[in-house]
Symmetry: C2
Subunit: 446 residues, 2 copies
């Protein structure tokens, strides 16, 4: 028979073996648990939205995947008007606008789902066409306290600390400070978004070229270099505050930034884990207050693994209600691919594969099954080897799948009412009475 | 500003409020935990596959959503050759064929992801265009023991028992028995698939009309009625075995069915939870041994909530390796919508919303945050109300979000080094020393 080649689509190719999938799921579970610890509740939204919903903010059409039917079909809205979401923020805005009266505000939600973007895939940069985003947002009606902005880093901190991905630093800045800086340097209001987008590249691209780009936006040669230098230079939080203090245009932003930086400490984030950094710029127009990036201290080349900011109005395209909010997003697929590459994934403390009950003599099926049921009832993940195979083959399977213990028993053992427990790490076997199996196994697994 | 209407696409509309999403996530967590307890490992596959992969088995094109770009784009395989998966079995076949050498066999995998089908949405039947499937399969190379078929019901049993969705019954049949029956009734080999599809509708559609359909497939009037009657009649397992015993064509299938039914009991499934039932037919061609359906005893009208079967070769379109397997699928979105409708969702034992620390006096921010940090460190989900609002407003928020306890404190309380813990269910408040807060709260939550 003519075979179809089993292959994946370019950019839709972050598919893991089970051991890696377990690692990935561990990261998701840690995120969920920590988000819930802080009072965030889960939502999921459909993969496809109405096209006019997705494009309401404008400017993203070129990256959107639309749906169509493979064969002709009548009356399918999804195929004529639907497209896949490219982020979780637009669906959130639509969700809140639709369900405003059913939600309790401040609305704190987390959402961990796949998104799709027609970008050029670059595995080296961790850029794919299908990937997970992991978002939290706090949305309120009409007003939102600066304390919400101050709380976000404590959530990020607790997530990454538990993920144990090495030393990290949450860097914050404030859009009002950046606007003030641009004003001080005489950047015209209408040029600001473009200037911010240039400055956002300061840590990734060639400085001389970016200074030239700034000049093309109307900055004088010296001013462009000064602005660039101010943004890109690494300073302590105190030094940064001192540098900004004389700049009148930054006064309001600076006060806010200092206030939030102080509150971040009160929310339990240690000083070493965060910093004010003027190099945090973020490309997106709609941020208006605190902006966040998070770097791995040992691997700055990975770029920001968690970014976001404060915005003034989430859903202005859908509703007249003013919905200020603050949120961050972890690009989980990219983070995972980078952690794996850098060898930063922790070994799993518990795996689903704990005990394999081998079956060397089919006559004892009932007893093998009885052992497995007793272990499962005690919360131990237990698999029975159901095929007929030599014991050596069964133990090879146990090793490949990562089981920690094997139970081995035949006539010799059951005749004495014992089973052998073999520790697959230390390779040591010991006999235990069948009646003690649960306590012996749970002890061995500890 | 002209607003965009915040609305969903027809069939892409199973979107929940956070309280329902928590319930849905609870079902997923139960499935995951039980699957892992039995040695199944997780995989996820990309949402989009190559079109020739999805259509390799043929006959499904008309329900497939393909991808396209909303705006012109160069060099995007996904947009020219990609489409969304319509089930989790075809991606599994592609996955196993691609990674054959990296997997340990028997390969036991679970997969809980969304699938997309261009069917006509019918909320009444729980039929949507985007929905979750929750699958397990056991795949081996070359041969697969009947014990794998016997184990599947024990996994289903443990999942639904923990979900606590009321009494359920796992009904099994065997394709070899059905083939034997058809042979006894003189159905030509090439008519078998169509006859099976007709019999599969026996419990849902009008009997007289189905008997006519059977006649159109070549059965004589009397024979069609007899076959229909045999399949549709409810009997005990023993009665069914007795009815089939004299039929020579069924002998092999019957022996297998009886053997598997006996083994199912050994795997720990109580007699009351399963039954042999000739009415289990399943429409799909490729099943070859045991087939499964699961019904809620009190709500037979919901139809099967978990179905599957044994097949002889998973991935013949992709590889020459013979990969026999057995698997079942839970249509989780449909199950959830039906459970909700029938009022069968259990109240959540724990919710993310456990304690709300109210903030009636901003001067005590540090102390509010300190209380919250202590509680979180003890594993209690704790939110601090960060906006400035009257206490009554904060308590209304606590009620709406489902918090179980509120911490209330101001000058009066902190002056005496106590806080008030208010149980939001019983409405009773009590003062506890700040130093005892963790033990008092954990005790109250028990």
């Amino acid at each position: 028979m003519q075979k179809v080649k089993p292959a994946l689509l370019r950019g839709f190719d972050q598919e893991y073996l089970p051991q890696d999938q377990l690692q990935f799921n561990r990261l998701i579970d840690i995120a969920r648990r920590n988000f819930e610890r802080y009072g965030f509740l889960p939502i999921e939204t459909p993969s496809a939205e109405r096209r006019e919903v997705l494009t309401s903010k404008g400017g993203v059409e070129k990256e959107i995947y639309a749906l169509t039917r493979l064969a002709e079909a009548d009356d399918d809205e999804a195929a004529t008007k639907g497209a896949l979401r490219f982020d979780l923020t637009v669906p959130l805005a639509r969700y809140v606008a639709m369900r405003e009266r059913e939600l309790a505000f401040p609305f704190r939600r987390y959402q961990i789902q796949r998104v799709w973007r027609g970008e050029t895939p670059q595995a080296r940069k961790g850029r794919f066409r299908e990937f997970y985003q992991c978002d939290i947002d706090i949305i309120n009606r009409d007003r939102l306290s600066y304390l919400a902005e101050a709380e976000i880093p404590s959530v990020i901190y607790s997530v990454f600390r538990e993920m144990a991905i090495g030393e990290f630093r949450i860097r914050i800045n404030n859009r009002k400070v950046l606007r003030g800086l641009l004003q001080e340097f005489g950047v015209a209001q209408e040029r600001s978004p473009q200037v911010l987008r240039i400055l956002d590249k300061a840590e990734k691209e060639d400085g001389a070229r970016l200074v030239e780009e700034l000049e093309r936006e109307g900055l004088a040669r010296g001013a462009a270099g000064d602005l660039f230098g101010l943004v890109v230079k690494k300073r302590s939080t105190q030094e940064t505050l001192a540098v900004l203090a004389p700049l009148k245009g930054c006064a309001q932003g600076l006060e806010e930034l200092a206030q939030i930086a102080e509150a971040i400490g009160k929310f339990g984030v240690p000083d070493a884990a965060f910093a004010i950094d003027l190099g945090v710029v973020r490309g997106l127009d709609y941020y208006t207050g605190t902006i966040y990036e998070t770097m791995l201290v040992q691997y700055p080349e990975l770029g920001s693994i968690c970014s976001g900011g404060r915005y003034d109005d989430l859903a202005s395209y859908f509703t007249d209600t003013r919905l200020p909010g603050v949120g961050i997003s972890i690009g989980l697929t990219r983070l995972f691919s980078k952690l794996k590459e850098a060898g930063l994934l922790q070994p799993l403390e518990t795996t689903p594969a704990q005990v394999l009950v081998t079956t060397m003599d089919p006559r004892y099926l009932d007893r093998y099954l009885g052992v497995a049921q007793a272990l499962r009832a005690a919360g131990v993940n237990t698999e029975v080897y159901l095929e007929q195979a030599r014991l050596g083959h069964q133990l090879t399977y146990a090793d490949r799948k990562g089981f920690r213990l094997a139970i081995i028993a035949g006539e010799n053992e059951f005749g004495r009412d014992v089973v052998q427990i073999k520790n697959l790490t230390t390779k040591t076997p010991r006999d235990v009475p069948v009646s003690d199996i649960v306590s012996a196994v749970t002890q061995e697994l500890r």
